[in-house]
Symmetry: C2
Subunit: 173 residues, 2 copies
């Protein structure tokens, strides 16, 4: 039963992503239709009071020089699963507090770094990178064929994973 | 006399850039000191009512698929010359209107694309890239050893260059 539920969720994610991609393609064909809420923020609603980096290169640089792990969120504005996760992420005080210890970046456009999509380019997808610039592929959510996906109900697991990303870092140093 | 004035300006730009880089390095050493105005915007004050892309890769993609030239601004928050140019750029109604015809990106962190720094990585530096993804190194400002630098007083030249970037594109198609 639980397995069915997970399968349905993953199917929904896949459908939502496909739809979102279609919307994206439409935007790109007729750029006049592309109207985000202005002014656009770097946080895109994932935490307006946090400091976000603009580019992946900048995040890598800040992680290395500041000795902080990176928390990277891939999402899409048109994806309801991304939106739902964002809502709980932004409202969760402990997560927002803990997020300060990371170099933060959220992307709606995939990078060219294949290490960031070990099991595909789905959204939402949250990964950690340690200051040695190694993608922490071992820190995963609860869905076996979408390892880095989180549902709103997984927010405590995400919090635990954030602590894990910070704790292991300290042990390794 | 005018030559002296230009030399002095360029010296100032160089000094400001060096200072800004030093500030940058300081920020990076002690990340707790890095406190931008929150929430950060993608426009960073260059035009809050315009649509800005987050990453260079995204800008290239949108230029190609939307058949629009890119206007790319390299600047630094700590550089007084960048700030001064930004002020006139954001307040110039015709420029803000014309900017809608471009894929817009402003960066405070250099990309790895060497074509974006044909004569160095100074700021402020404004360049155009046409939809075929060729950097328009021929569209320059008035300073011979900082070809893509603009002073606030050069705002009309910048406007003319924006028109040039749009016009040549049409001729070439």
């Amino acid at each position: 039963m639980e397995k069915n539920y997970i399968s349905m969720f993953l199917l929904l994610v896949a459908v939502a992503y496909t739809l979102a991609k279609d919307f994206g393609a439409k935007d790109k064909k007729d750029t006049n239709e592309y109207k985000p809420k202005l002014p656009q923020t770097l946080s895109r609603g994932w935490g307006d009071q946090l400091i976000w980096t603009q580019t992946y290169e900048e995040a890598l640089f800040r992680a290395k020089s500041g000795n902080k792990p990176i928390l990277i969120i891939h999402h899409l504005e048109d994806c309801p699963h991304s939106q739902a996760l964002k809502k709980v992420f932004a409202a969760h005080k402990e997560i927002q507090k803990l997020a300060e210890k990371f170099v933060l970046i959220n992307l709606v456009y995939e990078t060219t770094d294949k290490h960031l999509s070990p099991d595909g380019q789905y959204v939402p997808r949250i990964m950690f990178i340690d200051p040695s610039l190694t993608v922490r592929a071992d820190i995963t959510g609860r869905y076996s064929n979408r390892l880095y996906a989180y549902e709103p109900s997984d927010i405590s697991l995400l919090y635990a994973n954030m602590e894990k990303a910070l704790k292991l870092l300290k042990t390794e140093l």
